[in-house]
C-alpha cells in the first residue's frame, strides 16, 4: 500500500448520479417544517405575562366602569337635588304669596 496511491484514489473525481438533484428536492419536500422549540422556562414566563395582561385589562376596564357609574350617579343626584330645591323654592314662594295676599284681593280674583 502506498500512501500517495491511497490519497489519489480517495480524491478521485466522481460523477454525481443523474437523479441526485431530484432526490434532494424530494427529501426537502418530505421533511416536516422545522419547529421552533421553546424552552419550558420561556413558556411559563409567556403564560404569566399573558395572564398579567388580561388581569391588567380587566382591572382597568373595571375601574373605568366603576368611575363611569359613579359619575352617572353623581349627575343623577345633582339633577334630583336641583329639582328638589326648585320645587321647595316654588312651594315656599307660593305659601308666602298666599299668606301675604289680602283675602279681599284673592276673592276679587276668584281664588278660593
Amino acid at each position: 500500500m502506498n500512501l500517495d496511491h491511497d490519497l489519489h484514489d480517495a480524491f478521485r473525481r466522481k460523477q454525481a448520479p443523474a437523479d441526485l438533484a431530484d432526490r434532494v428536492l424530494a427529501r426537502i419536500n418530505e421533511a416536516p417544517a422545522p419547529s421552533r422549540q421553546v424552552g419550558p422556562a420561556s413558556s411559563g414566563v409567556r403564560r404569566w405575562l399573558a395572564a398579567a395582561a388580561v388581569l391588567a385589562i380587566a382591572a382597568g376596564g373595571g375601574q373605568y366602569y366603576a368611575h363611569q357609574r359613579q359619575a352617572a350617579e353623581a349627575a343623577r343626584v345633582q339633577k334630583d337635588l336641583r329639582i328638589a330645591m326648585q320645587i321647595t323654592s316654588e312651594t315656599l314662594a307660593r305659601v308666602q304669596s298666599k299668606l301675604s295676599q289680602p283675602a279681599e284681593e284673592r276673592r276679587q280674583q276668584g281664588i278660593p
Binding site: 353623581a74 343626584v77 326648585q86 315656599l92 307660593r94 305659601v95 278660593p112
Partner: protein, 180 residues
C-alpha cells in the same frame, strides 16, 4: 291570640313611628296619587346618596364649603309634586294621612293657610318643623290645590341662617324670608 295580633301590629307600625321620630314622613301612600297624575316629579335622596355624592354636587365657589357642610348633615330630601287633570283626583283624606304623621310629638305647625270657597273648592298650605335636641331637625311643606299637590320633606338639621346665606347655590331659596 290577641297578644300575638297586638305584637304583630306593633311590629308593623314601629318603622312608621320610628321614621316620624327622626323628621322623616312616610310618603309612600302618595304613590297611588302619582298613578292618577298628569304630571309628576318625585325626588328621593336618602342619607346614603347625600353622603356619597353630596360633596361632589357643589361647584367650587365662595359658598361651596358652607353648602357642602349643610348637605353632609342632611339625612334625606323627599319631594313629591303632582298635577292632575281632574279637580277631584285626591281628597282631604289624602292630606290628612300626612297630617296624622306630623301630629306626633316633636312636630310643630309653623304656617297654616286653609281656604274653601262656596263651590267647595279648597286649598291649603302648611309648614311643619320637627324639633329635637333643641334644634330643627326636619321640615315638611304641604301645598295642596284642586289640581296640584306638592309635599316636601327635608330630614336633618336645618339652620335657616346658614341656608339663607346660601341663596343662589343649587337653587336654594330664601327660606328664612318665606317662613317669617
Amino acid at each position: 291570640m290577641k297578644t300575638t295580633l297586638a305584637l304583630v301590629a306593633f311590629t308593623l307600625l314601629l318603622p312608621v313611628a320610628a321614621s316620624a321620630q327622626d323628621g322623616r314622613v312616610d310618603l309612600s301612600f302618595l304613590d297611588r296619587l302619582a298613578a292618577r297624575a298628569s304630571e309628576k316629579q318625585e325626588v328621593t335622596l336618602g342619607p346614603d346618596l347625600l353622603m356619597s355624592s353630596g360633596a361632589a354636587l357643589i361647584a367650587p365657589g365662595p359658598k361651596a364649603e358652607a353648602a357642602k357642610q349643610i348637605l353632609s348633615e342632611l339625612k334625606g330630601i323627599y319631594v313629591r309634586s303632582y298635577e292632575f287633570d281632574d279637580d277631584k283626583a285626591y281628597s282631604m283624606d289624602d292630606i290628612n294621612a300626612i297630617r296624622k304623621q306630623v301630629s306626633a310629638s316633636g312636630w310643630v305647625k309653623v304656617v297654616s293657610n286653609e281656604e274653601r270657597d262656596k263651590s267647595g273648592r279648597w286649598e291649603l298650605q302648611e309648614i311643619y318643623f320637627f324639633h329635637s335636641g333643641g334644634k330643627i331637625n326636619g321640615m315638611l311643606i304641604i301645598n295642596a290645590e284642586p289640581r296640584e299637590m306638592q309635599v316636601v320633606n327635608i330630614v336633618g338639621p336645618i339652620d335657616f341662617a346658614k341656608v339663607a346665606a346660601l341663596a343662589g347655590i343649587l337653587g336654594i331659596p330664601n327660606i328664612a324670608g318665606a317662613v317669617n
